[in-house]
């Protein structure tokens, strides 16, 4: 179960390759990208976020009968159009791959200790979120 917090730009194809499997007929990926603002600054409680994300992915894999599941979250500045998070799920069939990828990103957003600050026109503000 690959889970990583990284300050580098994320690569969709690298994350997708991690879930390839000869018994997987379907791979679904999700990318969350900065939109409408100049940039987003992400901060993480890295020492907790990474193992928490790994455990969360294992639970999603089991609940949705996936072959493999991987996720990476970027920290630091993420400019307009770039990805802050990438999730990839593989399964025998598309139904499970879609459901597994969706569950993983829903839980990452709601539970993993990561925060973002929005920068737009010189103004910065922490974005209100969800209490885990």
């Amino acid at each position: 179960m690959h889970a990583r917090i990284s300050a580098e730009p994320l690569s969709l194809s690298d994350v997708a390759k991690l879930v390839a499997h000869p018994a997987a007929g379907a791979i679904v990926t999700f990318q969350g990208t900065t939109r409408e603002v100049d940039r987003l600054d992400y901060e993480a409680y890295v020492e907790m976020a990474e193992p928490y994300m790994r455990r969360l992915l294992r639970e999603c894999l089991e609940q949705h009968g996936l072959r493999a599941l991987a996720a990476e979250h970027r920290v630091g500045s993420v400019p307009l159009g770039e990805a802050s998070v990438v999730v990839a799920a593989s399964a025998a069939h598309r139904q499970e791959a879609f459901a597994g990828a969706r569950a993983a990103i829903d839980r990452i957003k709601a539970e993993v200790p990561i925060w973002k600050r929005e920068l737009s026109g010189g103004e910065a503000r922490w974005v209100g979120g969800v209490l885990p």
Binding site: Q31, G32, Y45, E47, Y52, K109, P113, I114, K116
Partner: protein, 83 residues
Amino acid sequence: MKVNVRLFATLRERAGASSIDIELPERATVDDALDVLRERAELADALARLPVRVAVNREYVELGAALHADDELALITPVSGGC
């Protein structure tokens, strides 16, 4: 006993530090630690305004959980990762 408190985002900015040490009596709970933190001038406003979840040694815990010397306690305000 000493407990290390990790701060992030708004709380980190208010405190001007990413972690602070606090002194607690033996057998203190997470709730006791929060009472101590709410009395600190630099955190009082933000903690009155924002809900927090607490993690101890990198696991979410309930308010009644017991603390031990040198525990790492983290104040988790509403999270907004993802996109």
